[in-house]
């Protein structure tokens, strides 16, 4: 159980294997989604050139002809697909004729805000869920279980965008504690530190709304997981050895009880990123979700397809993150890999 028994060569090998596996998954997902995008453009009603141009260019014959030539839309499908995949691999995500900019530059501009929001919400849900769940599990009582069950049932049934609006209603409109919309206060000169604080204030409501339901799930899971682990033999051994309660909880219970929560968090990464799209729409948060919303209004397909690809990559990155956390905290994994 202790790290002394782990041979370091086995650990390096295991990590390399995991990275290779992750890379294969990454490439597979990118290729499949690119193919999917390609099929969608051709499945959409109307001429694919018109789909790529968006509604703006639909009547401009010259632009359509240029697009057909550029994308080789008169060639057979397999060749078109191969060309498209080649462009995706070289990070060419196309051109938004609506915004007169490349999709890649649009996405790069919006990416930091989305990463900030999803990473904050993910960390918030995971950390608070683990802490609250451990507290509830260690002091297991009827009331904490009932309260947790009710809160998670309610949150599970709440549309995330509506929760966001209700928090705005309470904390911005009624109490006037937090800003309701946006990323940073505009038109006020600020030092870097003030600016970071300002962004932080704007971040609270969107991050909490996005994290709430996962926070409830993880707390509930963590509680039952802590209860499971507490009854196992090695905890009895630790108690019999005379270890202090705090040390038992942190070194023995927490480490083992966290594993299922980390697994579930990895599985829900896709849902979290999808939720971010809606939350950004609610809070006018200038990230990729907001970009999707604007692109939807204008039927700007190159942007939609590009964002879908990038969002999927974010999900795989979150999967890699949870895999890594799992490997770091799991007391057994590296032993198994070495044998």
């Amino acid at each position: 159980m202790t790290s002394a028994s782990i041979n370091s060569g086995g650990r390096v090998f295991a990590v390399a294997l995991a990275l290779a596996g992750w890379f294969v998954k990454f490439v597979a997902v990118v290729l499949v989604i690119a193919t999917f995008n390609f099929i969608l453009v051709h499945a959409a009603p109307g001429d694919p050139a018109q789909v790529i141009a968006g509604q703006s260019g639909a009547s401009d014959e010259k632009l359509l002809a240029q697009l057909r030539a550029e994308y080789g839309l008169d060639k057979p499908y397999p060749i078109q697909l191969a060309n498209y995949l080649k462009r995706v691999v070289t990070l060419d995500l196309g051109y938004s004729y609506r915004q007169q900019r490349t999709v890649a530059s649009l996405i790069l501009e919006r990416l930091p805000a989305t990463l900030l929001l999803t990473a904050t919400a993910f960390t918030l849900a995971l950390l608070s869920g683990i802490i609250l769940g451990t507290l509830a599990g260690v002091r297991a009582g009827k009331w904490s279980d009932t309260l947790l069950t009710i809160v998670s049932l309610l949150l599970y049934a709440t549309p995330v965008f509506w929760l966001g609006l209700m928090l705005v209603l309470l904390f911005s409109v009624q109490l006037d504690w937090l800003p309701a919309f946006g990323y940073v206060t505009i038109g006020v000169p600020m030092t870097t530190l003030q600016r970071m604080g300002d962004i932080g204030m704007h971040l609270i409501l969107p991050a909490v709304s996005l994290a709430a339901v996962y926070l409830a799930i993880y707390t509930r899971l963590m509680r039952s997981s802590v209860l499971d682990v507490t009854h196992q033999d090695f905890i009895k051994t630790a108690k019999a050895k005379g270890l202090k309660q705090g040390r038992i909880i942190i070194r023995h219970i927490l480490r083992n009880a966290m594993l299922p929560i980390v697994t579930v968090a990895g599985m829900q990464a896709g849902a979290l990123v999808g939720g971010a799209v809606v939350i950004e729409t609610v809070f006018a948060w200038p990230g990729l979700g907001r970009l999707i919303y604007d692109a939807l209004l204008q039927r700007d397909y190159p942007v939609l397809l590009g964002v879908f690809l990038v969002m999927s990559v974010i999900v795989i990155a979150l999967n890699l993150l949870t895999d890594t956390i799992y490997r770091v905290i799991d007391p057994r994994v590296s032993v198994r890999a070495a044998s």
């Binding site: 049934a157 549309p159 209700m166 939720g275 964002v307 879908f308 999927s312």
Partner: protein, 277 residues
């Protein structure tokens, strides 16, 4: 069957859910009689607060009745919830049954596909599908079905793998019954109760996806829906809280009721599994 029904009737939260759900169904069915006017029509002054004359849930910025919108929206939510779940059941059970019955290479390929669909952000895929195919109710149902089947496929596969080696299945295979017969007549009936439970919970999440899609402006523009009402209320939240509060409560209550019924079904249909917790 009777004993299952009896034990569900004795399930307190399941029964609460059932009553709330029945109320929503009655509201949806009777919407054309309760609110005979088109929910898109202007019936009063704009921005009337709740309990105004003739408008107990108030009116929106175009003078439309919020209560009428909720009643008519109930139809859309329930219809889309049920039909899109049936769609994802057809996809998920077919894939899960094929993988679980044949095993081996077939299983591997099917599970890779399932895994892939679980990795990609489903909601964004649904947005893309509706945006490219057009915001029609049939496309919304198709999109929700496409993104919701993986859990059903995994569950069906697990059940089929468990039952595949049982003696009554082996006996049927030895008698020379065709695979389709074995699957449909022997295995599926024995795997049906967990599928029903997961399917009922899938209705709830389908309603949530539908509401988020119409919140983003991707609902059928001819049909009043709860998500659309909240989306329209977003920009006027400072003037008119009621426009977003009531449709949201409608979603919350409906989804909660379906989840409670689902959990009640789980406790009565799979007593072994639920007692383990």
């Amino acid at each position: 069957m009777m004993s299952t029904l009896k034990s569900f009737l004795r399930h307190p939260t399941g029964m609460i859910g059932l009553f709330v759900l029945l109320a929503v169904v009655i509201l949806a069915v009777s919407a054309p009689w309760l609110f005979p006017d088109d929910p898109w029509d202007m019936v009063g002054a704009p921005f009337q607060p709740p309990l105004s004359e003739g408008l107990w849930l108030g009116s929106d910025m175009l003078g439309r009745d919020v209560a009428a919108g909720i009643a008519h929206g109930a139809r859309i939510s329930l219809i889309i919830g049920v039909i899109s779940t049936l769609t994802s059941l057809i996809i998920g059970v077919t894939i899960g049954a094929t993988a679980g019955y044949f095993g081996g290479k077939v299983d591997e390929v099917m599970m890779r596909i399932t895994e892939l669909f679980q990795t990609i952000p489903g909601f964004i895929l649904a947005i893309l599908l509706v945006a490219t195919l057009g915001p029609k109710i049939s496309n919304v149902i198709f999109a929700i079905g496409i993104v919701s089947w993986p859990p059903l496929a995994r569950l069906t596969r697990a059940e089929f793998m468990r039952l595949r080696g049982r003696e009554f299945v082996q006996a049927a295979v030895c008698q020379g019954q065709r695979p389709l017969t074995v699957v449909l007549r022997r295995i599926l009936p024995n795997a049906i109760s967990p599928i029903i439970v997961t399917g009922s919970l899938a209705v709830a999440s389908a309603i949530l996806i539908e509401s988020a899609l119409s919140f983003m402006g991707l609902g059928d523009p001819n049909l009043m829906s709860w998500g659309f009402m909240i989306g329209a209320a977003r920009t006027v939240i400072r003037q008119a809280w009621w426009m977003s509060v009531f449709p949201g409560l409608a979603i919350l209550l409906t989804v909660l009721a379906i989840n409670l019924v689902g959990e009640g079904l789980n406790d009565t249909l799979n007593p072994r599994i639920s007692r383990k917790r």
